[in-house]
């Protein structure tokens, strides 16, 4: 039952020599193997490297020089470059790509002593809300395997929810950490833009992407985030401010905290039962001494159209480097240079990626740039201003994470807009660069739903504190699917 432990407990147990990292890793590798056919959460499992790293961690712990996460097994979303290990981004384009370097996040977690067990499945190039666009097949929700786990970090979420690993890195551009966390009944945290280095985090939309954590509790998320965050000179958008000890800040009482419930999120799109779970959660927070009021962010509903101009625009440029020349998929027998480009990219990218690249190409093109791209960036400014005004009145904002719980695989793939609207509550925080997390707050029709907590810039400690205090009063976060108990 070792997999019932949180990261915090495992780290302590390792230090206390209750078990070794090698034992832990072996146990998790077994669970991963058993779960892979059912969930398809992993793209690569790096068993031998993991056992080597585990042995080294055990030596470190014995010598008293282990880091805060020494010996703890984790997984990385397959969007983080891992040196010497295949890094695919869920795409045929990078099916054969072995990264020559470690992402900063990967290096930092290694330095903290964490042991990587493998690379996790994801929507192709992080484009998706259901993990159905992966070249390596869809990931299934451990609560009901006919259902999606959410996306794009579906593999990370499913693996953590099924306790195949205690924690995983993930990325969030429009909700790709928070939404799968909600759909899989776990805790997911996206930090402030610039808090976590993007160096080695394969780019989708550069002004929106942020690396973060999926784990089974806010306390675990705090621990991992503390080790992941920090200034990186290799990332020009990385912010040079010290990282607070998120763990130490978890237990502060909530008395006096002002919570704003985002009015615009309580719209017709929100499932009624879902809303009830949210209100139940707010009642808990009020019992803890917080006060809840409704706040209005009138431009927030425009988040989705803004996002679907800005993100495709940035990705159309970020993905231009995948051209079959220096790495990645190359078509067979190219007739000439143009054929090389067109077929390598046509074959290497899936439909959703192509759709977004083309949308982005269009909105940046001559004659359309002002009407689409600049317009969207202006509305983005309006949305950001809404958040700023709201934070002048309240300390954190809350609302549902996702309009519905998980849906059936294939249910929303017919119309891109239907799929895009899954992120309606999460995108705003990406546009404004704000820290946001999701914690499980109940079930609707047997499937988990999440409460979203959003803070002002660099208020990670505050929102983790709210989440942690909530989790001390409730046990939603301790529930896991029967099948993977």
């Amino acid at each position: 039952m070792i997999h019932r432990n949180s990261i915090t407990q495992l780290a302590a147990g390792l230090r206390a020599k209750k078990f070794s990292s090698v034992e832990l890793v072996r146990a998790y590798l077994q669970r991963i193997e058993a779960g892979q056919a059912v969930l398809n959460a992993f793209i690569s499992v790096t068993a031998s490297q993991a056992l080597e790293a585990a042995a080294a961690a055990d030596r470190d712990i014995a010598a008293g020089r282990g880091g805060p996460l020494a010996g703890v097994p984790i997984g990385h979303k397959d969007l983080f470059c891992t040196a010497g290990v295949r890094t695919t981004c869920g795409s045929r384009m990078l099916d054969n790509f072995v990264s020559p370097y470690d992402a900063t996040v990967v290096a930092k977690l290694k330095a903290a002593g964490a042991v990587t067990l493998g690379k996790l499945n994801m929507d192709e190039f992080a484009m998706g809300s259901s993990n159905e666009t992966s070249y390596f097949g869809p990931v299934r929700n451990p609560w009901n395997t006919d259902f999606v786990p959410g996306g794009s970090s579906g593999g990370s979420a499913a693996a953590v929810a099924a306790r195949l690993i205690p924690g995983a890195t993930a990325t969030d551009t429009g909700g790709s950490i928070r939404q799968p966390a909600a759909l899989c009944g776990i805790t997911g945290m996206k930090p402030t833009y610039g808090r976590v280095s993007r160096y080695g985090m394969i780019a989708f939309a550069s002004s929106l992407d942020q690396g973060g954590v999926l784990a089974t509790s806010a306390a675990d998320a705090a621990l991992m985030l503390r080790e992941m965050a920090g200034f990186d000179p290799n990332d020009s958008t990385s912010v040079n401010t010290p990282v607070p000890d998120y763990v130490a800040a978890l237990d502060a009482p909530l008395a006096g905290m002002k919570i704003g419930l985002i009015k615009e999120f309580l719209d017709e799109g929100l499932d009624r039962e879902n809303e009830r779970r949210i209100r139940d959660a707010l009642a808990v927070l009020e019992r803890l001494g917080a006060s809840v009021r409704e706040v209005s962010l009138p431009n927030l509903p425009l988040s989705v159209p803004v996002y679907y101009v800005v993100a495709p625009a940035e990705c159309s440029s970020n993905l231009a480097r995948y051209d079959g020349v220096r790495f990645g998929h190359r078509c067979k027998d190219p007739r000439d240079l143009q054929d090389l480009y067109r077929r390598s990219r046509g074959e290497g990218f899936g439909a959703e990626v192509k759709r977004r690249v083309m949308t982005g190409t269009y909105v940046l093109s001559a004659g359309y740039y002002d009407a689409y791209y600049l317009k969207a960036q202006r509305v983005r400014q309006l949305i950001t201003a809404d958040f700023k005004r709201a934070f002048a009145e309240v300390d954190v904002l809350v609302g549902p994470t996702s309009p519905t719980p998980a849906f059936r695989i294939g249910a929303k793939t017919a119309d891109p807009i239907t799929m895009y609207l899954n992120d309606i509550y999460t995108i705003g925080a990406n546009l404004a660069g704000l820290p946001a997390l999701s914690v499980p707050c109940g079930f609707v029709a047997g499937l988990p739903v999440g409460l979203q907590v959003v803070g002002p810039h660099f208020a990670e400690a505050r929102i983790l504190n709210v989440a942690h205090r909530y989790q001390l009063e409730t046990d939603w976060h301790q529930k896991s699917p029967e099948r993977f108990a």
Binding site: Y193, G194, P305, R326, G328, R355, T359, S365
Partner: protein, 96 residues
């Protein structure tokens, strides 16, 4: 709004994406849907509002010192290359 076949072909060429002829109408439809959807931004009054390129207001670009910090690692880097000869990346002949 409705994108024409020619427009899709032109966008696909700018993006260097080979599309099957049968795919073109599919992309015509979905791209038109998406552009319609995002077109709602048109109605929003953004007079006097500056476009936001970065979520971190007021921050400016860091400068790094002018120092050589990289070594020759072309063998490692070229391990992923589809076609290399004498250290050069090879592509079909480019006529200038």
């Amino acid at each position: 709004m409705s994108l024409t076949r020619a427009q899709i072909e032109s966008i696909a060429h700018l993006a260097r994406l080979e599309l099957e002829p049968a795919e073109i109408p599919v992309y015509q439809e979905s791209l038109s849907r998406i552009l319609d959807f995002v077109g709602q931004l048109d109605r929003i009054d953004t007079g006097g509002v500056a476009p936001m390129a970065h979520p971190l207001e007021g921050l400016t670009q860091r400068l790094r010192p002018d120092a050589v910090t990289e070594q020759d690692r072309h063998e490692l880097y070229q391990a992923n290359a589809p076609q290399v000869a004498a250290g050069l990346y090879l592509v079909p002949k480019v006529v200038e």
